[in-house]
Symmetry: C2
Subunit: 368 residues, 2 copies
């Protein structure tokens, strides 16, 4: 009975803080949506004129898939720029700058830059290699070290981020030696970033799967950043997390417009510029709001896509070149089974929505 | 400062009532979702075996459209049965029966029955006539009279439902002479029912446009049915409206599964069984929660579709057979302009989502 133990004034101030944040989230959403709406056609035209178009793997490499995707040739890539610009414009005007927001945005922009170089290398060389995978992982590891280091030298922050609630259990897991903490952080950041990148293989697939996840993360930020709500839900309270909600709201606005153009038949792809940065943003927000384990449920589609890829590689290596899926990641498997591309996208999106809902329910720590 | 004027106990009881309702809504959503998931494949198979398939207008009647839609032949119709069964199963176990729920469900089932007869007539005669339009309107008018009459003889209910808040204004409109009340009620019920029916022309179009509207109506029911929340938002409070939220949650669960099968390329259509009943349910809930004017924003897509049809007819009649749209309703216009079907559905769905969000914002009566 939290309500009877606290002062009325405290509850009221909690509620008015929540209302203030809600309004700012609404405005951020609106500004980002409008910005994206205005700039998207311009950027698409510009990318087309520069001939920065997606390069596809050929018949030799991917067999039937090359034919299935033949209609996608000459579609401009690097549309992630739209998402980044819109998200930034929604955020900078309404956010109260604090540690969480600055770290998240710096990581976001750094990874976006890496993705941009990657896309550019692919477009210039007209092949699908880009920056080597090891190099990307190394950069992501460097970022992890920097973020982990900053946290380590702020003991009160570090203390909070080591203790992670487990969904539907009421228990928390403590990740104590610093080395484990760094490894875990790397798994979260590199995991989300690369899983989202892997998922980006069909028109609108990443966008429709990411939108519910961002919505879920917005709610997590909203609750963990508000003392009253966090107490009500028995969530950890981390001051300033509400501002990450502004980021999520902006991103959601940008993604809605992006889906408008990116849906089948796509007029633009987000490229690595969009997918790597979107992924790491999801990972960062989940980590800074202390709910990466909930993300494993909510972002289940991304987890499945990454797992299917890993399983396929292991099966190929250790089971005498036998495959489990017709092709990895998962969405190509269904595509080769003859399911229409839009149907896969829609169904993955629906599953992502239901999983995000489930992880929102799991926020409530009365369980267990 | 509502919070300082009321007793702590009152706030607490308001919050715990809201939590109880939220849980029941969640369970209703889950039960409906699971029911639909289980029965959908069976019903689709059954309808296919009985050859109850959608009949399309031919080349003579609709020219190019017939060719565009040629791939849709042999798709079973009357899938609305899945929605109705799932919605009912989610509702009956969790709802606390009261006036609003009983009236809504009776109307829902009556209209579903009418739609079913209509579909059956079309399938049997293998043409697209079915029950004549005038007959349908007459039945809808009869229903309106019954509902209006019941309300008229319950003065305290009637008083409430005559006063309708206008979005974004802070004012309310009073519809006082009974004859105006009946005409207005008829416009709302027949309007929504037929507008949703008109919109049902592309794979998944009604489903994706209706889902945000149902979500919006669920929130309206939740707020207007809870004393604390209604006071906070300065909404009218109508005891028992929360139970309509259970209905909305069930319907949402059913629609998600229906979209799974109904999305392009559709394995099933909802037919008039689904669309007429879905429409009247939307109208009933909007009316019983006292927010039909908000529905005109939230259900803007349905309004536009109906308007485009009316404008086209008038233009054809009074402007020497000239047309404004290539074809009415609106979605066929875009289709004939060469926009891909899935793109129209997705974009209409996005617009519907944004409009529903706007009308949720408009619920807050501090405006004006």
């Amino acid at each position: 009975m939290f309500f009877f133990n606290s002062h009325l004034g405290q509850i009221w101030s909690g509620i008015s803080l929540a209302m203030d944040l809600l309004w700012r989230m609404g405005y951020a959403f609106g500004i980002s949506l409008l910005t994206a709406w205005v700039i998207a056609p311009w950027i698409i035209k510009y990318l087309k004129r520069r001939k920065w178009e997606q390069v596809f793997r050929d018949q030799k490499e991917v067999r039937d898939l090359a034919q299935l995707h033949s209609a996608k040739a000459r579609t401009p890539t690097m549309g992630g720029i739209i998402i980044v610009i819109a998200t930034m414009s929604g955020t900078i005007f309404l956010v109260h700058w604090n540690f969480q927001v600055i770290v998240t945005l710096c990581t976001y922009l750094a990874v976006m830059f890496m993705g941009f170089i990657d896309d550019l290398a692919k477009v210039r060389a007209q092949n699908t290699r880009g920056i080597p995978g090891r190099m990307k992982l190394l950069i992501q590891f460097g970022l992890t070290l920097v973020i982990g280091g900053i946290l380590y030298f702020n003991p009160d922050l570090y203390e909070r981020y080591c203790v992670l609630p487990i969904p539907f259990s009421g228990y928390s897991l403590s990740i104590t030696p610093f080395i484990f903490f760094i490894i875990f952080l790397f798994c979260v950041l590199a995991g989300t970033s690369n899983a989202v990148n892997l998922t980006d293989g069909l028109d609108g697939l990443v966008t429709s799967c990411a939108m519910p996840v961002i919505f879920f993360l917005g709610i997590v930020s909203f609750i963990t950043g508000n003392g009253t709500l966090a107490t009500l839900c028995q969530c950890p309270y981390i001051a300033g997390n509400g501002e990450l909600g502004i980021l999520c709201a902006s991103l959601l606005g940008a993604l809605i417009v992006f889906l408008w153009h990116n849906g089948y038949p796509a007029s633009i792809f987000m490229g690595d510029t969009g997918s790597l940065s979107l992924g790491i943003l999801i990972g960062m927000v989940a980590f800074l709001t202390n709910h990466p384990f909930h993300l494993m449920i909510g972002g289940g589609i991304f987890v499945l896509e990454a797992l299917s890829d890993i399983i396929q590689v292991f099966s190929y290596k250790f089971r005498h070149q036998r495959r489990i899926f017709k092709m990895a990641p998962l969405h190509h498997h269904f595509e080769l089974l003859g399911v229409h591309e839009t149907k896969i996208t829609r169904r993955f999106g629906i599953i992502s929505g239901l999983l995000s809902l489930l992880s929102i329910v799991g926020l409530w720590h009365f369980w267990g």
